[in-house]
């Protein structure tokens, strides 16, 4: 069979076909896997699929909150109503707004989160720079001590702290959050120092040496050279500090007492406040999940807005500084 000319021409055709096929598979392979690195279609699809799946898990609570918060009582009780409510119930938000004393609590929340965050962002940067770039006797001990303050659960020192702030006459004001922040203490202060330290350590010493040869002092070098390229670290620290202060209800209720109330604290007493405000009325009898969800969303909203801005700024700056590698 192999010797017959017809068969020979067929094998020729076959190899031809094979060559073509190989060409195509090669092309397909290149499309799927990419010539090098990660530009292949297959990998790309896998990456996007993963991102979408994981992303969904992350957005799920937010979607859930939004969906629930617009439901009326009938929609809540009706199991056939899934994600989209039959009728958008804006009233939930109005009620939640009133129950939370929104504007007043928002003011308090901003006071006890923005000011400490600014204080910590500045002071921790200075301390972190000292730890990262200077050598002095006793540094390892001080550093270890700082790490210990980070590890100590806040429940250990909560009550003594309370008594201490009472002595300093700082209770019922935002000062217990702000003043320790000025000294690189406060809520997770040690962590922020640590973030700065690790960040500054990746900056090559040659940069500072060059600045000092040019006659810049330590302060000037820090202010003019180090800080401008540390914007990512600064944004990260500020964002974390603000968010954590915002969400801190345990220490908040301890230090602020009844004098002030932040938004998350208002959520804690939401049920009672709601009853006091609305049960006297004719229509509504009890707080429902939708209203609570609306309240929760209202509390996260300022953070989300801040986050939208910071996020944009963050990725831009990170990309800009990241490209130079320094």
């Amino acid at each position: 069979m192999r010797d017959s000319p017809a068969a020979q021409s067929r094998t020729w055709k076959e190899t031809d076909w094979r060559k073509k096929a190989r060409l195509w598979t090669d092309r397909a392979k290149r499309l799927m896997w990419g010539r090098q690195g990660n530009d292949g279609l297959m990998l790309k699809t896998a990456v996007y699929a993963l991102l979408v799946i994981i992303g969904f898990v992350y957005v799920y609570p937010l979607l859930f909150m939004v969906s629930q918060s617009f439901k009326s009582l009938e929609d809540l009780l009706d199991p056939t109503v899934g994600w989209i409510p039959r009728r958008v119930e804006w009233n939930n938000y109005v009620q939640a707004w009133n129950v939370l004393h929104y504007m007043k609590a928002l003011g308090t929340s901003l006071l006890v989160s923005v000011l400490p965050a600014v204080a910590q962002t500045v002071s921790c940067a200075i301390v972190g720079y000292g730890f990262a770039k200077y050598r002095f006797p006793g540094k390892p001990i001080l550093f270890a001590l700082m790490m210990i303050t980070f590890v100590v659960p806040k429940q250990v020192v909560m009550i003594p702290m309370f008594l201490l702030f009472k002595q300093y006459h700082m209770l019922e004001t935002p000062l217990p959050f702000i003043v320790p922040g000025l000294f690189a203490q406060g809520l997770r202060g040690a962590l922020f120092v640590l973030i700065y330290v690790q960040f500054f350590r990746t900056i090559p010493d040659a940069l500072e040496e060059a600045a000092s040869i040019d006659g810049a002092g330590a302060l000037k070098t820090f202010y003019r050279i180090i800080l401008p390229i540390s914007v990512p670290a600064i944004v990260v620290v500020f964002l974390f500090s603000m968010v954590w202060h915002w969400n801190e209800t345990y220490l908040g209720s301890l230090y602020l007492g009844n004098a002030m109330s932040t938004l998350p604290q208002e959520l804690k007493t939401f049920n009672d406040a709601f009853k006091a405000m609305y049960t006297g009325g004719a229509k509504v009898t009890d707080v429902n999940e939708a209203i609570r969800m609306a309240g929760t969303l209202l509390i996260v909203l300022p953070l989300l807005i801040l986050y939208l801005f910071a996020q944009r700024y963050f990725t831009q700056v990170v990309d800009k500084t990241g490209l130079t590698g320094e």
Partner: protein
């Protein structure tokens, strides 16, 4: 006035760190001492002030020998946390690598992945839990949990099941770590990547030989952060126990201080193990970066 270079460096160093030292003395040293002192006493908070009676090691003995809940909860908690730490680290590094890729809409994806940092702390998480937004129904239905319970000794299936049930929570708690890793990845010099790619290194090799060593200091930061965060956040069982004891008449603040210090010792031990494990592999990188 001329100083030696080393002396001047030390002086500037002290000046920079000084705020922290002052802050520590003003706000940290006394509370730490006070709470340690209280842990050796029986404390009763009366309208006239705080009454203490010295107990010696009594509180600590009670915690280990008589308290039925504490040791059991502590052990279970430590076990499940030890399993969770590497999961969180690997997962967050993975996500950070994903969103560091040149993909379309990466701003959008980044925005999503840092979302938990903003929404999932404190009251909001508890609210979501109460509403049932934090569980994966699929896990129960697929029978994974039943499989684990039938095929592993309970000592290890309990923490594993615990983790699966809190899986969404694990993902949410890695927001901070993702952010730190991403910032670290951004600092890696892109020219190094290009050079490696030209030399024919595959992405796999590049990851192990270039990316990983470069971001090592930040892995340590994340390890420390994750450990402390998982151990001390208010939803942990042990912390709840400590808080409950704080205002109980029978046990009181002294006893809860003792519990808190034991817990602190445990966390410190875990951290030391983590740090030691890390140091062995990382000595050279450290010596190179510190001045």
């Amino acid at each position: 006035m001329k100083m030696s270079k080393a002396k001047r460096e030390a002086l500037i160093g002290y000046m920079l760190v000084l705020p922290w030292i002052i802050g520590f003395l003003l706000f940290m040293a006394y509370p730490l001492f006070f709470s340690l002192y209280m842990s050796f006493n029986k404390v009763a908070i009366t309208p006239y002030g705080i009454e203490t009676t010295y107990l010696g090691w009594g509180n600590y003995k009670d915690a280990f020998l008589t308290d039925p809940e504490f040791m059991q909860k502590l052990l279970l908690f430590v076990k499940s946390t030890l399993v969770m730490i590497p999961i969180v680290i690997v997962f967050s590094l993975f996500v950070a690598l994903l969103i560091n890729q040149p993909i379309r809409g990466r701003q959008f994806f980044r925005a999503i992945f840092f979302l938990p940092v903003v929404i999932t702390s404190g009251e909001v998480v508890q609210e979501l839990f109460a509403q049932g937004a934090a569980t994966i129904p699929l896990m129960d239905e697929s029978g994974v949990i039943a499989y684990l319970e039938n095929n592993l000794p309970t000592a290890w299936s309990d923490p594993l099941v615990d983790i699966i049930k809190r899986f969404i929570l694990i993902l949410w708690y890695s927001g901070v770590q993702i952010l730190i890793f991403l910032a670290a990845l951004q600092k890696v010099n892109t020219q190094v990547y290009e050079a490696a790619a030209i030399d024919g290194a595959s992405p796999w090799v590049i990851f192990w030989k270039i990316t990983l060593p470069e971001i090592k200091p930040f892995i340590l930061v994340n390890l420390i952060y994750t450990t402390v965060d998982l151990f001390t956040n208010t939803s942990s069982d042990v912390i709840k126990l400590i808080q409950d004891n704080m205002f109980q008449v029978g046990t009181g603040f002294g006893y809860s201080s003792a519990l808190a210090w034991i817990f602190f010792a445990v966390i410190l031990a875990v951290l030391l193990i983590v740090a030691w494990f890390f140091r062995n592999r990382e000595k050279t990188a450290y010596a190179g970066s510190g001045r």
